[in-house]
Symmetry: C2
Amino acid sequence: MHRAHALAGQCLGAIAGEMGLAVPHNLSRHKGWVGQLLEQALGADAESLPEPDFRAIGVEMKTLPLDHNGKPCESTYVCAVPLDAGLEPSWEESWACRKLSRVLWLPVEAQPEIPLPERRIGTPLLWSPNDGEREALQQDWEELGEMIRMGELEFITARMGNVLQIRPKAAHSRVRCHSIGADGEAILTHPRGYYLRPAFTHAILRRHGLVP
Amino acid sequence: MHRAHALAGQCLGAIAGEMGLAVPHNLSRHKGWVGQLLEQALGADAESLPEPDFRAIGVEMKTLPLDHNGKPCESTYVCAVPLDAGLEPSWEESWACRKLSRVLWLPVEAQPEIPLPERRIGTPLLWSPNDGEREALQQDWEELGEMIRMGELEFITARMGNVLQIRPKAAHSRVRCHSIGADGEAILTHPRGYYLRPAFTHAILRRHGLVP
DNA sequence: GAGGATCCATGCGTGGATCCTG
DNA sequence: CAGGATCCACGCATGGATCCTC
């Protein structure tokens, strides 16, 4: 948290410069660049491993791109939706729950009109879900999981879920993975991920007084 | 086979040249180059996939580096040794057996004193194991598999097996993978592969009159 | 001579996310 | 606006094998 607070107010160009890294011209071909820069700046030790970013303290770091009103302008990827194995037994044991149990949010300016190097980091927030947030997440997770168990995966759209949604997550739409159909047969489908809706992350920031 | 016979007598430099590929100075940093060149030259369609090289006809292609006497100077990699899952039920259903059921052998000159571009391809051989070969393979496979089932994986050395042996197969010796120990507990061990001894592949070539 | 160690290519999955139309 | 599509990095596994010391 000390290191995270030290980043607050700094702009991406300055941070990258101190680390000897070049800033890409835009994010369209480097969508994960900001997240990877800040993970490295904070000394995350599990980059690209299926582990919390900061292993010893069980903390996930996530950037939160904010628009001019301080509202997250994108959803937040949580984890892949497990489609093959028998489904996860409970919310508490789910991959999504574990990912979201302790998150270090790093707000980052994301107005398109601000050049990437000049975008600033906001006040960091080490967050765990409160009771209401946990209930909302769990309810969405259970409803979506029930559909998957019923073999209704193909009918799930991003419109479902109040705070947690399921959307495609792949290099492109031709990618397929194995899953289980309604009759228990093997089927090919699109890889999907769980995402937090912007309204949900916005509410988190508001609850902690970090944005209007 | 028509295409394979057309390669016989040609040297690697000519084949690479026709394909517009550069010949590396030596193989030490390009150990698989000859195999990949010839797969491409023959139109294999499953490069780097866990499938037979020629999917439609179920054929594996393998180069066989020969010394000045026409004896294979290296062992032949077959497949990875499955260490995690429950072991394979039978030789007939094993990965190794399926890999070896139809192999297109391409002998290649491998004397170090011949520059890589000048090394020639020999007569191709489309081979399936005869009864004796099958029995020898199966016996080794069953003995090695029994040791793995007994949790004696760490005691297996490359000295075991008359025709089929188990040796390390990894980027380097620090690589570890998950396996099952003697008491059924999860352990970390080195990834290993099945290999055919040179004496075995030598006998195949001799049986078909391709080498002295 | 051969057992143990190593090297490159490529597909796939996870982890980091944002892009881009209707 | 946001659902569906897409982009890069990297670890790991498989597939192609040969290297390099005892």
